[in-house]
Symmetry: C2
Subunit: 324 residues, 2 copies
């Protein structure tokens, strides 16, 4: 590896001078500057960030921890976060935690050792104490936390209500819910919204809430089951779009016509919902905006080292498609 010393001796100057032209800091004569630049080019030199960061104390890296990279929602999120990070001169480290607490903890300590400057975190298992312990500026995304920590979320509860209200508006009078995990605040709140909207309905006693396991396959199975026991269901609210796809496939496999006999609405607004037949109505989250906002807040936190909590709640938006 060629170092700043090599460049210095090649250009017949001191390392200090090389450093100056490297960082455009301090005064250096035009001529010597050119000399140095020639040397840099000739030796194909590029500075060692490890050494640089060791000195400056930051790494210009931020990490994103997500629970499942194969759920399309997260790549879309990751994509916007990455662009935003890059625009601010940060490299993004993407970490796939599988929602596994021990993996999350392992990552957190590894990242701390690597001196990442900040973390964007999507986690259901970590509490704010564990997060704060790492000492790294962190923004929590997509999951509500206690108030100790900045978070970016959407109005899941209201969104859940809106989804069910819409199904009712278009005539559904028996609505099932394919639920996410109760350990995940976002899906839990969507479920609460669902319950709030149907709690006066006579059929509430039948309990039309079934778990969808956060995947299309699980959700497929659950849908088959609930529809065979309750064939008069004419509306289904799935807690996210991936599960809504599972619902759709299940409904079609039972030869029930969508949306004529049964309407389906999802949540998230991922692209997948636009390529099914029929396309799936959804409560859309502003995924890109949320990612960018997370980076914005994180960078403010890192730069001003303020501990101010400035959480932000985005609004979901009903996008009507063919499944309703």
């Amino acid at each position: 590896m060629t170092t700043i010393k090599d460049v210095a001796s090649f250009a017949n100057v001191s390392v200090a001078t090389v450093s100056r032209v490297l960082n455009n800091k301090g005064n250096v004569k035009r001529e010597t500057k050119l000399q140095v630049e020639k040397a840099i080019k000739y030796l194909n030199y590029s500075p060692n960030d490890l050494a640089r960061n060791l000195f400056t104390g930051n790494s210009k890296m931020i990490a994103l921890l997500i629970p499942d990279i194969t759920n399309p929602f997260f790549p879309e999120l990751a994509s916007s976060i990455e662009s935003a990070a890059n625009e601010h001169g940060y490299t993004l480290i993407l970490c796939n935690t599988a929602g596994n607490q021990s993996k999350e903890l392992t990552y957190l300590s590894a990242l701390r050792r690597k001196c990442v400057d900040g973390i964007v975190l999507v986690s259901n298992t970590l509490d704010s104490k564990q997060i704060l312990e790492s000492g790294i500026p962190t923004v929590v995304l997509d999951r509500e936390t206690d108030f100790d920590i900045t978070s970016i979320t959407v109005n899941n509860y209201e969104g859940g209500k809106q989804a069910v209200r819409f199904l009712k508006d278009i005539g559904c009078d028996k609505i099932a819910h394919i639920a996410g995990s109760d350990n995940i605040s976002s899906t839990k709140n969507r479920k609460k919204g669902y319950i709030e909207m149907i709690k006066e309905d006579p059929w509430i006693i039948e309990n039309l809430i079934v778990p969808g396991g956060y995947s299309a396959k699980e959700s497929f199975k659950s849908t088959i089951k609930i529809l065979t026991t309750h064939p008069d269901i004419n509306g289904i609210f799935a807690s996210n779009d991936v599960m809504a796809v599972g619902v759709l496939e299940a409904v079609k496999s039972l030869d029930i016509s969508v949306p004529k006999d049964l309407a389906i609405i999802g949540f998230d607004g991922i692209e997948l919902g636009e390529i099914t037949t029929p396309t799936i109505t959804t409560m859309s989250q502003p995924i890109t905006a949320m990612g960018r906002k997370a980076v914005d807040l994180l960078i403010k936190k890192m730069q001003y080292k303020n501990d101010e909590i400035s959480s932000e709640v985005f609004q979901v938006e009903l996008i009507k498609r063919e499944s309703t």
Copy 2:
């Protein structure tokens, strides 16, 4: 930040001793070792990898460059690469290049400065000279390159032939191809396989190859177009599964029955193909195995610093599903 010095003075020993217990190297009395460990725990100390790596010269990080994180094929790949890397003690940096050469180059130099130990690269724009220039051990994945560099691929040409042969076997006698880009070696070779299989057929002159733009939406449009001009097409080979989904939706929207009137086959074997209705027959790549192999070869390269080229070609496998 607490450093090794703090630990040393707290435990009343020298930094050397602390370092020894940290790395389990050299001899240190049981008692002092316990002292040090207590200090470490008490001070919540963790070593600074920047400093450590600056000394050792490696970062224990490898990077994965992929062209499109929102295409489900790549997250599946990334997922397996990440696990494999983690198992070997490496942290994965995921970089989304958007297939954009300048972004790739920017990443390459940034990664070099960050002293990443190795790179797994999925790229169509970079030639081996540009790759080798970074000086970082690299394995190319999913794309054929010239022979200067280790690569992991599948037999795309044979796979393409197999796909078309299968369509013929089940009775298709007019087969269209939704193609990927000719700039991408994998899809180019799949297309070659298609051409090889149909070049004797009388309808070859009609040119049933249309571009699918690597996305479901593009592929949807292309399919509509080709089917309206050639309504007697009864088989379609899509160059990947995402495009096959587009094909499927297009065909269904034209009220053509799948597979009765038209059979569809894709390529890749991603999970998406299992949740459509009908599910999509595909030439499946051993995605997980390929990812793991890439990491294996990369680690060998890094450890033994050998320049040996040890490319590997995996075999695709026909998975019959409902679309044929």
